[in-house]
């Protein structure tokens, strides 16, 4: 069953994330792809995440396809103008990529090429519209395509943004622009997320809750202080502290599994997106603890 079919069939869907390497050595990426094979519905390949230059997302997607894993192509608007974006989308589709996640992209000032010229010729809402046009056989200027795409297109949303209202307005625009699924920024407070879902449920889109494994109390505090749109509640930080240094990671994996279980059992959202950030090899274990394997 494809990622799209899984979401449309109301199955509780699981996606994970792999960052292509900085360099041409793809052994570790293939290892992670193989580990996730058969355990998740699709794998996102990040697009120069945090504006740090790496192998492109499309190559990751193609390699995943060769290894029997369905990819989600992440596409940011930071590095390519409308010509580059459309051209890469056509190429991706021809190579067998069926899912695309449209994002704005972190600013170059966050990355390792700070002197780069940011592009942002389009932004996420407009990119979603472009995908919609390509799906309907037209490019952005209205020219006919010889062979259209049939992408299943998604976007991102930050349920814990502060203030939240401008983010919700943008969420609505993304839905109108054709987004069919959303993967959220990491969430840790299930009750607050439930409130967000009460709003999101008014729209005909599928929502995957973003999850990032907490490795320690220190990491939780770092996320709270330095990562926009992520709020780790105090009780979770206490829980990690109480576990002690040795057991902190284990507790973090438990918290993640517990959240997945609750989201699924209470039917809060349509699936989860696990961003392992360097712990891709622990994803199967999380799914096992959550009772999904």
């Amino acid at each position: 069953m494809s990622f799209r079919e899984a979401l449309e069939s109301e199955k509780f869907v699981v996606t994970a994330e792999v960052g292509p390497p900085k360099g041409t050595d793809i052994d570790e990426m293939i290892h992670h792809i193989e580990l996730l094979k058969g355990k998740v519905d699709a794998v996102n390949f990040t697009d120069n995440q945090s504006a740090v230059m790496r192998m492109n997302s499309l190559a990751g997607c193609k390699i995943a396809l060769e290894h029997g894993v369905e990819p989600i192509l992440q596409m940011t608007c930071r590095d390519r103008n409308r010509i580059g974006l459309q051209s890469d989308l056509l190429g991706a589709y021809a190579l067998g990529v069926k899912n695309v996640l449209c994002m704005t992209g972190d600013h170059v000032s966050a990355g390792d090429h700070k002197g780069a010229k940011s592009v942002y010729d389009l932004e996420s809402v407009q990119l979603l519209r472009v995908v919609d046009a390509l799906n309907n056989g037209k490019d952005m200027s209205g020219n006919d395509l010889k062979g259209s795409t049939d992408f299943f297109q998604g976007a991102v949303v930050t349920p814990e943004a502060n203030p939240l209202e401008p983010q919700l307005i943008k969420f609505e625009k993304k839905v109108k622009a054709g987004a069919r699924f959303f993967q959220t920024q990491a969430i840790y407070d299930i009750e607050k997320f439930r409130e967000f879902m009460n709003h999101a449920r008014k729209f005909p889109v599928k929502i995957l809750a973003g999850l990032v494994v907490l490795k320690s109390a220190g990491m939780a505090k770092f996320l709270n202080n330095f990562v926009p749109g992520i709020v780790v509640p105090e009780e979770l930080i206490e829980e990690l502290k109480a576990a002690g240094k040795e057991k902190a990671l284990d507790t973090g994996l438990d918290i993640c599994a517990r959240h997945i279980k609750q989201l699924k059992e209470e039917g809060i959202c349509d699936g989860v997106h696990i961003m392992a950030i360097g712990m891709e090899d622990r994803v199967p274990e999380i799914l096992e603890r959550a009772g999904l394997l």
Partner: protein
């Protein structure tokens, strides 16, 4: 107005090292408000050049340095001084400098300032950038606050995921343009409109350089 900043003096001296006598041209408009091309700036530059052993044949603050014909007329009175000069130092913006280049074909013309941006003066000699002259104004759709300029990504349809407590992901010193737009639209009771308008991708051909405009005979003509 056009915001200018004095070039580092050492750098300037390096640029003009091969010249001996100078005529200084300021500007009574933007460069005066910036303190880079007013009478006082000309006086300071004259003294600084003299201290470096250079000769200054004269100086003048034209009304509007980027106005070619007007400046030409005003400078007629300085024919002798300009004749004795081997380098004209322009203390306004890059446009003013190029007025001098047009007027003095056979003389060296050097800029004394760096031209920065189109700015608003918020306090005495404090400036910020609010419009980047994109050629296709969308302030009508954004509550009068320009995201093309004041959002580092120039996003047209709402905040990115990097916004934190109303601040921009690029720097906590920058208020997020889209939170400001949201708040203003809320005050104007126009949130519905904000929600319903998807701003189209910009037509950057409207800002294709070099731009030119003639409104003569009430007929607007832009180079395209």
């Amino acid at each position: 107005m056009i915001i200018t900043k004095k070039k580092d003096f050492k750098e300037l001296m390096g640029n003009i090292r091969n010249y001996r006598s100078f005529f200084l041209i300021g500007c009574s408009e933007c460069a005066s408000l910036c303190g880079t091309g007013n009478e006082e700036a000309i006086r300071d530059m004259t003294e600084a050049l003299k201290a470096e052993g250079k000769e200054v044949t004269g100086g003048f603050v034209p009304k509007t340095g980027c106005q070619v014909l007007g400046t030409k007329k005003e400078l007629k009175a300085f024919k002798d001084e300009l004749g004795r000069t081997d380098c004209i130092l322009v203390m306004s913006c890059g446009a003013g400098t190029q007025t001098a280049v047009e007027l003095f074909e056979d003389k060296a013309v050097y800029p004394a300032n760096d031209s920065l941006f189109l700015g608003n003066m918020t306090r005495f000699q404090m400036f910020d950038e609010r419009c980047s002259l994109c050629g296709q104004c969308i302030l009508d759709k954004t509550g009068g606050i320009c995201p093309v300029t004041t959002c580092p990504k120039g996003l047209l349809n709402g905040p990115c995921g990097g916004m934190q407590d109303g601040h921009c992901e690029v720097s906590p010193d920058i208020p997020c343009a889209w939170v400001r737009i949201y708040e203003r639209m809320k005050k104007l009771d126009k949130l519905q409109e904000l929600c319903e308008t998807v701003v189209e991708a910009k037509d950057w051909s409207q800002g294709q350089k070099p731009r030119a405009l003639s409104t003569r005979e009430k007929k607007e003509k832009t180079r395209s």
